[in-house]
């Protein structure tokens, strides 16, 4: 089905309309554009996940295992025992409604089941109906229901219509974290073989090859060499990027899309120019060649399995600490699970210390992993970088806080501090759409697949709407971000809603602005676009 035109897409959205039926009596409609394809049997099998089979969400029969109900009920019981957060969240909601209109999917679809309160209730009602006496006795009166196949289908539909962005939890007076509920709901669905391919295939590639895209070592090297030729053409500098170098001081890990897809490749060129400028002793690994972790969207165990490669490689290469690139959910994993599930860090790692400024990154004492924006902001704060922001004068920039780095770990100031030093024109989007209240790109948590485009354009609408505001008010034409999913999904989102705006990583702009000893006079930016003033100069 072709995507409706932008001015038609949201016509069916009416926040005031009362549904005709009780929510327990409505079923989702699996129409094209509104669901993701199921995991391919070969992929599910190779990962050792249960019940590989041919099925699709639009099928009437999902071919669930005969004892699916028993599996799900056991899984709920198990998670309630293992995760106090889950037990608590299933218990404490008072239906105050503070979260109701905070979800980008609710705003973009008007579907009441996208209100975070109701999304959680999809599971909570079953916990009540199957595990509590009041629920068993009073049923619907107590907000309880039984587990049926229709409930499984509904879970699949709505727990894959949540990007685990946690905006709702910012507004919840009880601090209920819907993302955790979604994470556990997806994990439970995995136990009966209900999953999506767009998450599982990258997981498979990451587990067996090293990264989501499936880039083998020689391909990574070739891609990097290709980008280095571009750098030479633009700056005149011959740069080398160390790959799998034993004994380097720093292991640099970034999303694999940064050495494969636009506009991530320009961000990568930015990192490389910065490291060259600093004379940094670092290495990239072709084994731990993925910052992202789609395992995090699968199960806790899969997340740990994929993440472990970073520490393994840090140990094998005997580096001192790890620098992480502009990635989103990588940082949620590092910040929230590193110590409890992925650690402890190998003993050869030391507390990260910037070799340039001497700054000791105390906050990374246990994980030994520092975010590149922290690293670069520290360099700028110490006056270690010579920057010419006018090289970014073609751009009027705004900053999209990626959910995972902002709400997930509190990186608000560093990217803004960097941007203010590398560009002359920087404007913020409205206050309720940035920092901890940032709106999701609409495609996070592994939903960035083409077949899901309609829901992605709906879910991304609130973000795009805020971009449109600054585009019209200040002429913003560049949306900077620090996440590879953002870099992949914001271009089509902008193309749909605000086509005048492009998307970049923060370090692309750093790479443009950096004045590097020995470089030739630059005439273009890293995208080979003429710098402002150059064309006129040449025409004189």
């Amino acid at each position: 089905m072709a995507l409706p035109k932008p001015d038609e897409l949201l016509r069916d959205v009416n926040y005031d309309r009362m549904p005709a039926k009780h929510w327990m009596d409505t079923k989702p409609e699996f129409r094209p554009g509104a669901y993701c394809y199921a995991g391919k049997p070969s992929v599910v099998e190779e990962l050792g996940l249960p019940f590989p089979r041919e099925w699709q969400p639009h099928d009437e029969d999902w071919k669930l295992p005969p004892n699916w109900k028993e599996i799900v009920l056991n899984a709920i019981k198990d998670r309630a025992e293992r995760f106090r957060s889950f037990k608590l969240f299933m218990d404490i909601c008072v239906r105050c409604g503070a979260c109701a209109d905070k979800c980008h999917f609710f705003l973009g679809t008007g579907d009441p089941k996208n209100m975070p309160v109701l999304r959680a209730e999809l599971l909570r009602s079953v916990v009540k109906g199957e595990f509590t006496r009041s629920g068993k006795l009073f049923g619907r009166l107590a907000g309880a229901r039984k587990l049926t196949e229709d409930v499984i289908k509904e879970w699949f539909y709505y727990y894959y219509q949540c990007t685990e962005c946690r905006r709702c939890s910012v507004f919840c007076p009880y601090g209920i974290d819907t993302a955790e509920i979604t994470i556990l709901a997806r994990e439970i669905l995995h136990e009966i073989g209900v999953n999506i391919n767009w998450i599982l295939e990258p997981v498979r590639n990451s587990a067996f090859i090293g990264n989501h895209i499936g880039l083998q070592p020689h391909t990574i090297q070739e891609n990097i060499e290709f980008l280095l030729m571009d750098i030479e053409e633009i700056t005149g500098l011959k740069i080398e990027v160390p790959i799998n170098k034993k004994g380097a001081e720093i292991l640099f890990v970034t999303p694999s899309a940064d050495f494969f897809a636009e506009p991530g490749i320009y961000t990568f060129m930015g990192y490389v120019l910065l490291f060259h400028y600093l004379g940094l002793d670092y290495t990239i690994s072709t084994y731990a060649s993925e910052g992202g972790n789609f395992g995090f969207f699968t199960t806790h165990e899969m997340m740990r399995k994929l993440h472990a490669k970073i520490y393994h490689e840090a140990e094998r290469l005997k580096v001192k600490w790890i620098l992480g690139g502009e990635c989103g959910h990588m940082w949620r994993v590092v910040h929230q699970y590193e110590d409890t599930m992925c650690g402890p860090a190998p003993s050869n790692l030391e507390v990260p210390k910037s070799p340039i400024t001497g700054t000791v990154f105390e906050h990374a004492k246990s994980t030994k992993i520092v975010h590149i924006c922290e690293f670069t902001a520290d360099l700028i704060a110490h006056g270690k970088l010579q920057l010419d922001p006018s090289r970014n004068d073609n751009y009027v920039v705004t900053f999209h806080d990626s959910c995972n780095t902002s709400r997930g770990m509190g990186i608000f100031e560093e990217p803004r501090f960097i941007l203010r030093h590398v560009v002359n024109n920087f404007y913020e989007m409205p206050e309720n759409t940035i920092r901890e209240k940032t709106f999701c790109c609409g495609s996070g948590s592994g939903l960035n697949t083409d077949e899901y485009m309609e829901i992605r354009m709906r879910g991304g609408f609130p973000r795009a709407n805020a971009v449109e505001y600054v585009h019209e008010k200040y002429g913003v034409n560049m949306l900077a971000c620090i996440c590879a999913i953002d870099r992949a999904v914001l271009p089509p989102l902008m193309n749909y809603w605000v086509p005048e705006v492009q998307v970049c990583g923060v370090h692309e702009l750093v790479g443009n602005a950096l004045v590097i000893p020995g470089e030739k006079k630059r005439t273009t930016d890293l995208r080979f676009q003429p710098l402002k003033g150059v064309e006129e100069e040449e025409n004189v």
Partner: protein
């Protein structure tokens, strides 16, 4: 798994219509089928050059090339590739060449 029947041949495809059997299942009938789907009038040497570059790269690397590499090796700017394959390098050219869909943060 969905299948496509074309000129007496049956192809297994994924949900987006990419050829499942890869290079082994790839043949002239598949090319003609995608050509028809894409609404391409006539296949020229330029189309074939793109297909050949994609297939050679895939055999060596197991993935499709970066768009920039495809442009550089063929000598065709992205705009030209879109003229040749209206759905673009991924959904048009890769599909015709029998390559799978890319995955990850792309």
């Amino acid at each position: 798994m969905p299948t496509v029947e074309y000129k007496g041949k049956t192809f297994e495809v994924d949900e987006d219509g990419f050829l499942q059997g890869g290079m082994d299942a790839w043949c002239m009938e598949w090319v003609e089928y995608v050509k028809e789907q894409e609404g391409i009038q006539e296949l020229t040497d330029e189309h074939w050059k793109v297909i050949k570059v994609l297939q050679d790269y895939f055999k060596k690397n197991g993935v499709a090339p970066m768009v920039r590499i495809l442009s550089k090796v063929t000598g065709y700017p992205l705009k030209k590739i879109y003229e040749l394959f209206p759905s673009g390098p991924g959904k048009g050219a890769c599909k015709m060449a029998g390559l799978p869909k890319p995955t990850g943060c792309v």
